[in-house]
Symmetry: C2
């Protein structure tokens, strides 16, 4: 949630003239998206989101993200559609930054999802996984198991400031995850960050998935494990088996899970908890200036990790294998 | 530019149900307004701004601000119109804060206004001054000459951190302003903060005046002097006589200025520079957590004050008396 770059009205008008969207009517910085500057843009042709990509985003990867949204939108996934300029390009430059205009999606994030929301999410995730087939670009997951130790090491000395024994807990868990990580599950395009903030609802129905800037090529079941962590725990920290079942049943209604995926699920859930524990830990030590959000608490994901460590099989989550 | 309070989707839906605006479609925190939390709100009936009033705003004064917008809107001033709930009230409560919904105005702030923009602003200001007649509520200007010494005193010891000799300069100028301040000029409702950020244009035409939360009952010519400071100087710091003339001619096209107003104008311009020098100075020492804006530089207004100190009469600004 941030606006890191201010846009001058004259520059913006000139930028908008490279599109077929009519005249500028309004442009307001919005508190959405942690990595980039986002603006609500009202033009003659309708409402849009204008995104300026900030330094943390690798410009070379933008064609993957924008191309993916276009691919998914064309296959019926409710997600923003990149708007092309008069030269047929989805990516331009504004205020010294790579910039894109995407369609505005109605809907709002649900902050206390119930089982029905989880079921809808499961189905939407499976639909996205299926729709991603045929997308020709690939992007390795820069935040998967092989990256975690390198992410942690430079800051490990400060880990115990965040929670007692955190350094040892992470180190031992990394040993476990590196040894046990499944490498032959079905893969494809995953969202990799489908938290409640990134899923818009209108009532009980999903109106859109947003923020594809962590999307990559990785195991489908790992994406599901990320959602499982993000959606199926109470704010008290307790796991809710009804939500877990709803999420997986929603998913399986469109894409069956293989036996290998279900067997690996507890390990994937531990890995997903580790990934967010680590990035939150690192971010909590280094909040970008101008960010509107408070850093998220890494200890939420430490608690989830410790919970998953007690799990022997998917059955222990109350899930059918 | 800030979002200090996060709004829960369930609370927001319940709040919106107290209005006749249809269902919630979207709500996004926007980077607009320094004192309050503002949201772009899309509902079945259209687009709105939802404002949550934060602690720095005195709740008892909100009926003045909302009543004024309603009064001005009804008299043809392009400004937001407060939306009343089903009980006929413009002010409600949301997320523990006083909250209001106002109509969304298209348009965008011009950051490098030219003389034509200044002329349009002058006319819009005069129109607002005239339209304010008959508004039954009064509100003293809490940031006028009688308040300045008290605003400065608690922080005076830190003044020279900001600029050399600032403490002495302010102290001597306050002596001057307190002795010479005009107290019998024509008064009425003034905006008191009509900076470029608070004036929306579509092309060369003004589409709306926003942010009436400093509005009060004070001298019309003081409001003009605030605009003169905010609109008629280059970003280099140089005064532009063409813009000054355009502003005053635009104003006079709808409301003639009296001889007393023109004679007092250089003193009013010094006072307006002092008011923003002081609040920027105080704010620069105390930036609210969660604010998206960098504090504005008080030295910009120190330079303007020093410029005005050299002025003998309105003629020295290139203005006709």
């Amino acid at each position: 949630m941030a606006v890191y770059t201010q846009v001058d009205d004259e520059e913006l008008i000139a930028f908008l003239e490279t599109y077929d969207l009519g005249e500028l009517l309004s442009c307001k910085g919005i508190a959405e998206g942690v990595e980039n500057s986002n603006f609500y843009l009202h033009a003659g042709a309708g409402s849009y989101i204008l995104t300026l990509y900030e330094k943390r985003v690798d410009e070379a990867e933008l064609p993957f993200f924008l191309g993916l949204m276009e691919h998914l939108f064309a296959r019926g996934v409710a997600c923003p559609q990149p708007v092309k300029n008069r030269r047929g390009q989805a990516l331009g430059r504004l205020a010294g930054r790579p910039a894109a205009i995407i369609t505005f999606l109605d809907g709002y994030a649900i902050h206390r999802p119930d089982a029905a929301h989880c079921a809808a999410l499961g189905a939407a995730l499976a639909k996205m996984h299926i729709a991603g087939a045929g997308f020709s670009q690939r992007r390795a997951n820069a935040l998967s198991v092989s990256a975690w130790r390198g992410l942690f090491a430079p800051k490990a000395a400060r880990a115990d400031e965040v929670a007692p024994e955190l350094r040892r807990t992470v180190s031992e868990e990394l040993d476990f995850l590196e040894a046990r990580w499944p490498h032959s599950l079905p893969i494809g395009v995953i969202h990799a960050d489908l938290f409640p903030d990134n899923v818009f609802f209108l009532g009980e129905k999903i109106s859109g998935l947003i923020d594809f800037y962590f999307a990559c090529t990785d195991a489908f079941a790992y994406d599901l494990a990320i959602c499982f962590n993000a959606w199926c725990f109470e704010s008290s920290g307790a796991y809710d088996p009804a939500k877990g079942r709803a999420l997986l049943e929603g998913y399986r209604s469109l894409r069956p899970l293989t036996r290998a995926e279900m067997e690996a699920f507890p390990t994937l859930a531990r890995g997903a908890a580790m990934r967010f524990l680590l990035t939150r830990f690192v971010d909590s030590l280094d909040v970008p200036a101008g960010a509107l959000v408070r850093p998220k608490d890494p200890r939420e994901y430490l608690a989830k990790l410790l919970f998953h460590q007690q799990i022997g099989s998917a059955r222990d989550y109350g899930l059918s294998p």
